[in-house]
Amino acid sequence: MASNQMDINRLSERGIAELVDRQQESIGILSRAREAALKAALALLLIIAITFIALPVVALLLRSPLDTTFRSLYDPIVMDALRLSLMTTTVTTVIVVFMGTPIAYVSARFRYFGKELADSLIDLPVIMPPAVAGIALLMAFGRMGVLGRHLDAFGVSIAFTTLAVIMAQVFVSSPFYIRQARTSFEDVDLAFENAARTLGASRVYTFFHVILPIAINGLISGAIMAFARSLGEFGATIMFAGNFQGRTQTMPLAIYTAMQGDLDVSICIAIILVAISFVIIVLVKILTRRVYKNAGN
């Protein structure tokens, strides 16, 4: 009788254990299925996003055969736009770097009256629509503008000149450099600066021999971003500088103009811009990876 009872107990224990095992197994299958579904959904989302970005670029290359693109390269509108764009964006980048580096350093290291306001104003062009930037520049430096009318009295006219193209590009691209440079300077440990000072270095010597070399990758990355933004600038340029071939017609403006006549020329310029953008992205990726490595050290 007792042994029967023990057998019954053993059997019921085994039954419970099996039931628990089965339950755990079904929970495991459920969580694995949920994980797989999540991964599938994320993969699908990624594929949609990549397709959305890649398809227009591929369509550009498919629409225009390579020989047509090369032939269009010699079109005067393409050559003029390429030359003007490269010249203005280079000058713009140099101006932004020379003007923006001390501003970014001061903003990263010092507190002064009105700093918040100054920082907000510097960042403003990032969120300001380019067309608004263009009209604002026109109101300031145009022939009837706040400053422009006084310059006009001395025979200096800025609007609708190559200088206006550069000014529009500086206006919209400088925050991209200054923000990146400010972050790079903030990342330089103050102890390096202090150590240099106690070792006999003046503020200027410390800046050029310690701070700048440590922050340099971030600064180059910021300069590349400013270059890229200048190269793609359209709204502010067309409003403030107009659209004159060889004088103010940069590549984005030339795409817009050529589209109304010869689409092949338009596509040729677009492909050149895509190629430059691709090189820029690769450069920024390499540099930011180097920055990360330095920070890791």
């Binding site: 202090n194 106690t198 070792l199 006999g200 310690v210």
Partner: protein, 246 residues
């Protein structure tokens, strides 16, 4: 002799310190985190300025609020070893040590000779081309010390120079540190948390509490402070701690 008599408002309390450090003496500064130890070193180095007071080296004022004198950090000729060592990450070990000589405009030949001498003395010659951030913790400490000593400083300040090392290396470095600092024969202040550092490196010790010197005494008396440091509230002034409460 280094004379310090300063007052500076810190975030939570006033730092009010009056002390002297003799030529060749190593003063160990101990105290809790945030009690003002590093701030005091920064005041001496000129990286921060006191609200009022005077800091003088051999009667020559480095800072004097009354006379409105504040010598810039680069003109104080102070060897400062930072807690993080602050070795320039983009430079080699050699360039880090040579930095202070180059700022003084020494010729390349003179820089080479002196850097070689210091790197060999510190056992760093073989790693001179390595980037400063790529060497071990112990080597970094030696580089930081060599960089501070090569300029022949008139004052030495070391902020927790052994804290980044493991326990075994700390024990080995204490004797070496004491010998190298004593060889300079200048007033030296070392900030530490470790009473073993005080006993084996220092000549004299000060306990800083909320910006004020609470206890001072000979470094060899410091091990008896252990109980006092843990139980300061119940220890009577001038009690059996060996040092004198202020």
């Amino acid at each position: 002799m280094l004379e310090i008599d300063v007052k500076k408002r810190l975030r939570d309390f006033d730092l009010e310190v009056r002390m002297t450090v003799k030529e060749g003496e190593i003063l160990m500064l101990v105290g809790d985190n945030g009690c003002g130890k590093t701030s005091l070193l920064n005041l001496v180095a000129g990286l921060q300025n006191p609200e009022e007071g005077r800091i003088a080296l051999d009667k020559r004022p480095l800072f004097d609020s009354g006379l409105k004198i504040s010598v810039a950090p680069e003109e104080r000729n102070i060897g400062y070893v930072f807690q993080s060592y602050a070795l320039f990450p983009h430079m080699s070990v050699y360039d880090n040590v040579a930095f202070g000589l180059r700022t003084r405009g020494l010729s390349r030949k003179a820089v080479d000779a002196r850097v070689m001498e210091h790197l060999k003395a510190a056992g760093l010659w073989d790693i001179r081309k390595a980037r400063a951030v790529e060497v071990s913790g112990g080597q970094r400490q030696r580089v930081a010390l060599a960089r501070a000593l090569i300029i022949e400083p008139e004052i030495l300040l070391l902020d927790e120079p052994l804290s980044a090392l493991d326990v075994r290396k700390q024990a080995a470095m204490r004797k070496e540190l004491r010998e190298r600092i004593h060889a300079c024969h200048v007033p030296s202040i070392i900030v530490t948390h470790d009473l073993r550092d005080v006993a084996s490196i220092g000549d004299r010790a000060c306990l800083l509490e909320r910006g004020r010197i609470a206890l001072t005494g000979r470094a060899d008396e410091v091990m008896s402070w252990g109980g006092c440091l843990l139980d300061r509230d119940v220890e009577p002034a001038g009690g059996p701690c060996g040092g004198s409460f202020i």
